[in-house]
Amino acid sequence: MHYAPPQLHIPDGFLNLFVSLICWAITALVLAVAISRTNKSLGERQIPLMGVMAAFIFSAQMINFPVAGGTSGHLLGGALAAIMLGPWAAMLVMTAVVAVQGLLFQDGGLLVMGANILNMGLLTAVIGYGLYRGVFGSSRPVKLVVAGIAAWLSVMAGAFATSMELWLSGTSNLQTVMFAMLGVHAVIGVGEALITVAALAFIFRTRPDLVDEKSAAGQSGRGWVVAGVLIALTVILLSPLASVNPDGLNRVAMDLGFIHVAQSGTGPFAGYTIPFLANSSVAKIAAGVLGLLVVLGLVWITGRSLQKKSESQDRPSPMANRQP
């Protein structure tokens, strides 16, 4: 099948265990919240909708248009999904897309799937929805422009996160990978932005009832706007720093104590070691097991607390207890 594999799908083996598990932990936590939220606000009716929407994103990624010199523009779809379906539903939809791409087509690995979901599903949804939410009630052209910017930034955020993960795993040199990834995706992002804007404009024209804001107006959206703007700013501010002056980021990582677990790409040691054990294979295994326990513990605790919250409902939310 000639569907478009964006270059953000990291295969197994390119991230070290520690980074993979951290990404799985973040992803599992966010998804646990997303599941509990969608269970609360949506009925069983929403499940087929999200399922078919996931199939929509998957097949929409096949739509391309020729740009120049044999390259073509594609859709990643995270921002579009977030704008049309809301952030929580979009996260679940994108997770399903990334999961099937990894499981069925080996487009992206299994152990690193947490990172892939984070990069392509969660960040894109937060940026896409957050920025768009900020201009609710504005005129249509303003919304379209912001949606385009959000779509471009969502791709850049994915590329940024991918580069950071590769660097923290000691797979790539920060400066090179950041420069290459952001350079390529600055162009890919333009295709994403153009398609997203045109698709939205089409939906505005034909089914304006689907982008009705009144239903969402009741809920507070400020958190989303703040989160979206913050992530966007992080990408905008840190990426030039990383690609031009990587020492600066190294410095930050060292100050935050990151560098103990990460590898700068110049050090000879593979990642994940525990400081008080020597850098032996025992330490690595211990670190791996410890990471695994932390992940499972975090997921279990969130699961428990969310389950308690939703006990009043007829169906308790099935919580994540994922195998990393």
């Binding site: 969608t38 269970n39 399922g51 199939a55 739509i63 939809v93 797979t171 698709a199 939906i203 791996g288």
Partner: protein, 263 residues
């Protein structure tokens, strides 16, 4: 397009085909985890892991080189790891000049690079084998049993179920676009990039609306057939003695590989 157009399943009755899908999923993940845990340059362990894959290939009856032939899919990503060749300090192995850059490949860099690519290459093979010997719906079912949230597995089931329908839809749209934007031989197709992007965007928007409306019809159809929010299956999973034995044996082999990687 047929409903299983996307499945990578190869029909068979081998001992691996009939294993419980849960065992296959667990062993696959354990194998990939084991690869991630192996230190750089553990060639004996990597070799043993490959041997395990070859044996599994052979037992599955798909041919001993089945996964090998399909394993180059993740190779382009190796580009992301190329920089370690030059940045990790060590004894120089080779050096060359590209334009004004003087690049030196070090032995430690080479070791790290080859290790990363080997890990990825082995992990991809076991993932390929998993989907070749297990029908995809059964993998999703196994994930449900392994405590992946039901909401997610249900969405994935729907995605898989309707993927071929929507892909057909996309194919028809692309064919229609092609039919309407003919270009004379040797001439560039018409329109600016912006115009072409707008057409692609309209197609995406159209596809969204069609999918949206389809999901409504699907829901109503399912409701009239007794849908209550969960998907039912008539293929229950049951562990047999054999499944447990194979599972335990595979994990033991993986532990042995870990030990071999550290001597």
């Amino acid at each position: 397009m047929h409903s299983d157009a996307f499945d990578r399943y190869h029909h068979g009755h081998s001992p691996i085909h009939v294993l419980d899908p849960r065992i296959k999923v667990i062993v696959t993940i354990a194998f990939i985890l084991s690869n991630a845990l192996l230190p750089d340059g553990a060639w004996i362990a990597f070799g043993l892991a490959w041997l395990l894959i070859l044996v599994a290939n052979y037992v599955s009856g798909l041919g001993i080189s089945f996964t090998f032939k399909r394993s180059f899919i993740a190779l382009p990503f190796a580009l992301a790891a190329v920089t370690v060749l030059f940045t990790i300090p060590g004894e120089p192995v080779a050096s060359f000049n590209i334009l004004w850059w003087h690049l030196v490949i070090t032995d430690n860099g080479l070791l790290r690079f080859v290790s990363i690519v080997t890990r990825s290459w082995l992990s991809v093979q076991v993932a390929i084998l998993l989907v070749a010997v297990t029908e995809f719906p059964k993998i999703i079912h196994a994930l449900t049993h392994l405590r992946v949230p039901a909401v997610l597995t249900t969405i994935i089931s729907f995605l898989y179920r309707y993927l071929f329908v929507l892909t057909d839809e996309v194919m028809r749209m692309m064919r229609a676009r092609q039919a309407r934007s003919a270009a004379a031989v040797g001439l560039k197709p018409g329109g600016s990039v912006i115009w072409r992007a707008r057409i692609a965007g309209n197609m995406a928007g159209q596809l969204f609306l069609r999918s949206y409306e389809r999901s409504d019809r699907i829901y109503n159809a399912m409701l009239s057939r007794g849908y209550n929010g969960t998907l039912m299956t008539i293929h229950p999973h049951q562990f047999r003695r054999n499944d447990v034995l194979v599972g335990v044996f595979s994990i033991l082999v993986l532990i042995f590989i870990q030990i071999a990687g550290r001597i």
